[in-house]
């Protein structure tokens, strides 16, 4: 190669290559060009693209998570409404049983009350009869007694003192 450059020349004379100023210009120039190219490619093409990929993925994941959360809430709601329904049904069944039991008990109670009232009435009537009979009997006692007394007196005395007998009997009875 015909390019007998300064750097080759000076390296031969013992200058430590990294400190050889004759190469600085070229290195700086190419560094500027290549680094500028890299910066432009990175900032305009590569990094926005990777950033977009990551963003899309994050959005997607967040969306999926939100969807999962939504579905979970829906499930929870369904479970809750199912449980409410179940509790309701249980309550209803319980109510029906209770009502039936109550109505049967009420019916029973009514019938028993009726029967008892009936019995009481009958008993009262019977007692009434007994009392009336007794009263009637008691009413007759005086008469019978006076009659008996009169008969006894007539038999014994031979004459009748109706009025006096009656009075005496009445006196006894009353006494």
């Amino acid at each position: 190669m015909a390019s007998s450059t300064n750097s080759a020349h000076e390296a031969a004379t013992g200058v430590f290559p990294p400190f050889d100023p004759s190469t600085f210009g070229s290195q700086l120039l190419w560094l500027a060009l290549t680094f500028a190219a890299l910066y432009i490619l990175m900032s305009k093409v590569a990094l926005p693209r990777i950033g977009e990929i990551l963003e899309v993925r994050r959005d997607r994941i967040e969306g999926d998570l939100a969807e999962a959360e939504r579905l979970k809430q829906k499930t929870d709601q369904a479970i809750k409404s199912y449980e409410a329904e179940l509790a309701d049904a249980k309550q209803k069944a319980h109510n029906i049983a209770e009502e039936t039991r109550d109505s049967i008990r009420a019916d029973l109670e009514k019938k028993r009350a009726k029967v008892e009232a009936d019995l009481a009435k009958k008993m009262a009537a019977a007692e009434n009869d007994i009392r009336e009979t007794k009263e009637a009997a008691m009413g007759h006692v005086e008469e019978i007694a006076s009659d008996t007394a009169l008969a006894i007196v007539t038999n014994i005395v031979g004459r009748t003192a109706q009025k006096a007998t009656k009075d005496a009997v009445a006196k006894v009875v009353k006494g």
Binding site: T5, P18, L29, F35, L38, L41, M42, S43, I53, R57
Partner: protein
């Protein structure tokens, strides 16, 4: 001398543009050197990889796309954690720096390849670019408030005459430390590798005993190669992290 550990850093022209001949034209002679070639290879590799691997825009990434996404998120998290959300406007810049340094370092690990970042002028130019961005954006955003960078908050007034010069010196030394750190790491690593690899050759030329003895530098070379791969990635990371932190200073000067 084939074993010269310095030769790998030599810059040679591949072809030249302009300048009809040596020392003749008044115009510029632009040399396309091995350094320039590897800069181009670096940039083309990065761009091709990132652009081609994401071509499918897969919702579920393939392996290559996943690698691109991991690089993106790695640098994005780095910038966000050190420079905040506002620092994300510099994300393409930091990403380009990180990828450029990383890939240039890693290409340097391939035998016979030129290491772009082993030249102080390249790392210094990158560091100056960072500091220029920091200074220009710092003044654009904060005006003279950017100078508060040199006045740490909560420092009593009578200490300020001492603290402010220290802060200024530390700020001015940033591009130097940033560039020398990367340059020296790459340079020293490659020289060490070359020296140990050279021992293998010179020892094994001494016969059977020499070959036996050469196993030691050989093991050393293997270990150093692994270390150098680590250093390559680590220095790219350090460069990018420091860049993010300096950019943070430009955004929030009063720390």
């Amino acid at each position: 001398m084939a074993n010269d550990p310095i030769k790998q850093f030599k810059i040679t022209d591949i072809f030249t543009i302009g300048g009809a001949g040596e020392g003749e034209t008044g115009g510029f002679e632009i040399a396309f050197t091995n350094s320039a070639l590897f800069m181009v290879i670096t940039v083309v590799s990065i761009s091709a990889f990132l652009i081609l691997s994401t071509r499918g825009r897969g919702l579920v990434p393939g392996r290559l796309q996943l690698l691109s996404e991991m690089l993106y998120e790695f640098v994005a998290n780095m910038v966000r954690s050190s420079a905040g959300t506002e620092g994300m406007k510099f994300f393409p810049f930091v990403f380009s720096l990180f990828m450029f340094v990383l890939v240039a370092n890693l290409f340097g690990m391939v035998p016979y390849f030129f290491t772009v970042t082993s030249h102080i002028i390249v790392t210094f130019a990158l560091a100056m670019l960072v500091i220029s961005v920091v200074i220009i954006y710092g003044f654009m955003r904060n005006g003279l408030g950017f100078l508060k960078l040199f006045v740490p908050a909560g420092v009593p007034g009578y200490v300020l005459p001492i603290v402010i010069p220290i802060e200024i010196v530390s700020f001015l030394s940033r591009p130097i430390s940033l560039s020398v750190r990367l340059f020296a790491n790459m340079l020293a690593g490659h020289i060490t590798l070359k020296v140990f690899a050279g021992f293998i050759v010179s020892l094994s030329s001494l016969g059977a005993v020499g070959v036996l003895g050469a196993t030691l530098p050989f093991a050393m070379t293997v270990a150093l190669t692994a270390l150098e791969f680590l250093v390559s990635a680590l220095q790219a990371y350090v460069f990018a992290v420091l860049t993010s932190m300096y950019l943070n200073d430009a955004i929030h000067p009063s720390h």
